[in-house]
C-alpha cells in the first residue's frame, strides 16, 4: 500500500485549457472539478520541488497517457517516456470480457528522483473526445505492506431515490464512489507512527492519493479521505496492526 505524501507539485502548465476549466483545477481536492483541454491531444507539465518517486492521476478522460520525467531545466531526460493504456479492456477470464468504461485513474512509480523535476504528461483521448483530468498528485509515495486478506472494497451511492405514487421508484443518479477498509501490519516505530502521526494526523480528513495494493491494476489507485480516523493495535513487540477506512472523494 502506498500514499503520496508530501505532495511536491509547485505548479502545473497545460498547453491548452478551456477557460472555465483551467489547469490549476488538478491541484485542488475535487476530482470532479476537472481541467479540460480543448482537443483530444494535450500535454501538461508538472513542476515538482524536492524528492519524488510517483505520480497519480484521477478522473482522467484519455485512452492513452505517456509520462516522461525530465530535470528542472528540461534539458535531460531522467525517466524515458512510458506509455499507459487506459482503455480498460481486459480479457483475463475466458467468458467475461471487461468492456467497461476506461480507467479514470493512473498511478506510476517512476523511481526515486532526489532533485526538482518536470513531469511531462501527454494525454490522448478518443476521436471526438476532450482530454480531462480531475486531480494530479506527484510526490513521495511512501510504501507500506499491503493490507491483509480481509481487505474490503465497496461503493457508496449519493443518488436520490424516492417512491412514486404508484409504487415505482424515482431515481436521480448521482455520484457513486468507492470505499476501502482493511488492516495493515506495520513496523511500529517507523511505519505506524509515520502513517498515523506524520500523515493522517497532519492532514486529517483531507484526501490523499492512495494505492491500496501494489498490484499493477489501476483500480487500486484512489483519491480518498480517511472516512474514519485509523486505529491500531500494538499486539506485537515491534509491530502493530492498523485499521484504515478510505472513502473516495468527488
Amino acid at each position: 500500500m502506498k500514499v503520496i505524501y508530501p505532495e511536491r507539485i509547485s505548479s502545473v502548465l497545460a498547453d491548452e485549457a478551456n477557460a472555465n476549466y483551467p489547469d490549476d483545477n488538478v491541484l485542488d481536492n475535487h476530482p470532479k472539478k476537472v481541467w479540460k483541454a480543448t482537443s483530444k491531444d494535450a500535454q501538461m507539465k508538472l513542476t515538482c520541488t524536492g524528492a519524488t518517486n510517483a505520480v497519480a492521476l484521477f478522473n482522467v478522460t484519455a485512452d492513452k497517457i505517456t509520462i516522461t520525467v525530465k530535470n528542472a531545466a528540461e534539458t535531460a531526460t531522467l525517466v524515458a517516456a512510458q506509455e499507459f493504456d487506459l482503455k480498460g479492456t481486459d480479457t483475463y477470464l475466458e467468458f467475461i470480457q471487461d468492456l467497461g468504461e476506461n480507467w479514470t485513474q493512473l498511478w506510476y512509480d517512476y523511481g526515486y528522483q532526489s532533485d526538482p523535476i518536470v513531469v511531462i504528461i501527454d494525454f490522448e483521448a478518443a476521436a471526438g473526445e476532450i482530454v480531462e483530468a480531475g486531480v494530479i498528485r506527484c510526490g513521495l509515495a511512501i510504501d507500506f505492506l499491503d493490507p491483509g486478506f480481509q481487505l474490503q472494497e465497496g461503493l457508496k451511492d449519493y443518488s436520490i431515490v424516492k417512491q412514486l405514487n404508484n409504487g415505482a421508484i424515482y431515481i436521480r443518479k448521482r455520484d457513486t464512489v468507492r470505499s476501502f477498509a482493511g488492516t495493515v501490519t506495520m513496523e511500529r516505530d517507523r511505519e505506524f507512527y509515520f502513517l498515523v502521526r506524520d500523515i493522517v494526523q497532519a492532514v486529517g480528513p483531507q484526501p490523499l492519493a492512495w494505492r491500496i495494493t501494489d498490484l499493477d491494476n489501476y483500480d487500486w489507485a484512489v483519491f480518498a479521505m480517511a472516512d474514519k480516523m485509523p486505529s491500531g493495535t500494538h499486539n506485537r513487540p515491534d509491530h502493530s496492526d492498523i485499521k484504515f477506512n478510505l472513502l473516495e472523494v468527488i
Binding site: K32, K33, Y158, I160, K162, L164, N165, Y170
Partner: protein
Amino acid sequence: MLLIEMTINGAVNYISQEGIALTYFWEPKIMQFDPPRYDIAHDYGGYVSPRFGSISLFPDLFEDDWPPPISCAITIKYTATTEGAAETLFTGIAHLSQLDIGQVKYDLYGPSYITTTAGATAFNDTLVNVVTALCGGAHLNLTLDSTAARGPSPNVNFTVSGDQLDIDLVSAIAAFYTHLIYISGSTLYLVDMLGDNGTETITEFDYLQGTTYEYQTPVSLARAGDRAQASGYPYGNELTLAAYHDTGANVDDCLDDIMTVLHKPRVRLKMPLLGSLPVPGKKISWTDESLAVDTDMYIRTRSVRYDFDREEITVEGEGAIAAT
C-alpha cells in the same frame, strides 16, 4: 440541478449543491437552502409572491474574500440539463445574516415595489387596462403580459381610498376579479383563475407518494360593498371583501366567481424536480390509480414550494376530481 450565480466582491462565483460540470463548473458550496416558495395572496387570486428564506454556504467559498461581504447580487436558477435550459427562479440580493465556524448564512431579498397610487384616483376601465396603467413607468414600471387573462376583460370601476402601494392595489383588484398576478423579470403576468396558463398532463410515474386532496370549509355568504351573494351551502364561513365596482350585478358576478374557486377541491401535489418548473396558473392533469377508484384530477398551479435539498417540488392549487 440548482445553479446559483453569486457575485462576491465583483467576481461571479458559480455554485451549487453538488459539483456540476456544465459550461462552468458549479462548485459544491451550498450547505443548506431554505425551500423557496411562491404563495398566492388569496385562494381566489392576487399576487403570487416569492418567499425566499436564507442560504447557508461553506466558509471556504470566501477564503479569498474574507470576511464575507455584507451583501452580494445573487441569481438562482434551476435546470435538469444544461445552463442554456436553466430557468431563473430568483434574482435579488443576499444579505449576510450569520457567520460561524461551519457556515456563512445569507438572507435573500427580492426586488421591492414601493411605488404608490394616490388616494382619490379613479379607475373606470377594463381590468387589463387598469393593470396596464398601474404597470406604467410612474408606478410598477413593468411590462404587462395579459395573454392568459380573461377575455373579454371585466370592467373595473372604483376610486382609491387613501394612498396605496401599487403592488397591493393590483393584487387586490386582480383577486376581486379572480385573477392572479406574478412577476418574472420585468414582466407582470395577469392570469385568469378560471382559465389555464399552459397545460401539462402527467402520469403516475411523475409524482410522489404523499399527494393530498382537500376541500375547504365552504363559504355560505360572500359580501362586497353593499352586495351579498349566497352560495349553495347554508353552512360554512362568511367572506367580506372590498368591492372594486359600483354596479351591483358586476359585484355579484365577482362574488360568484370567487366562491366557485373557493369551493373547488385543493390538491397538494408532490413531484420530483424534473423538467420545466410550473408557472402560476398552469393546469396539471393526471389520473390517480392509487385511490379506491381510479380518479381523474387536475389542478391549476397557485403556490409552488421548491425543496432543493430533497429534490422535491410541491404544487398546490384548486381543481377538479372525477371518477374516470
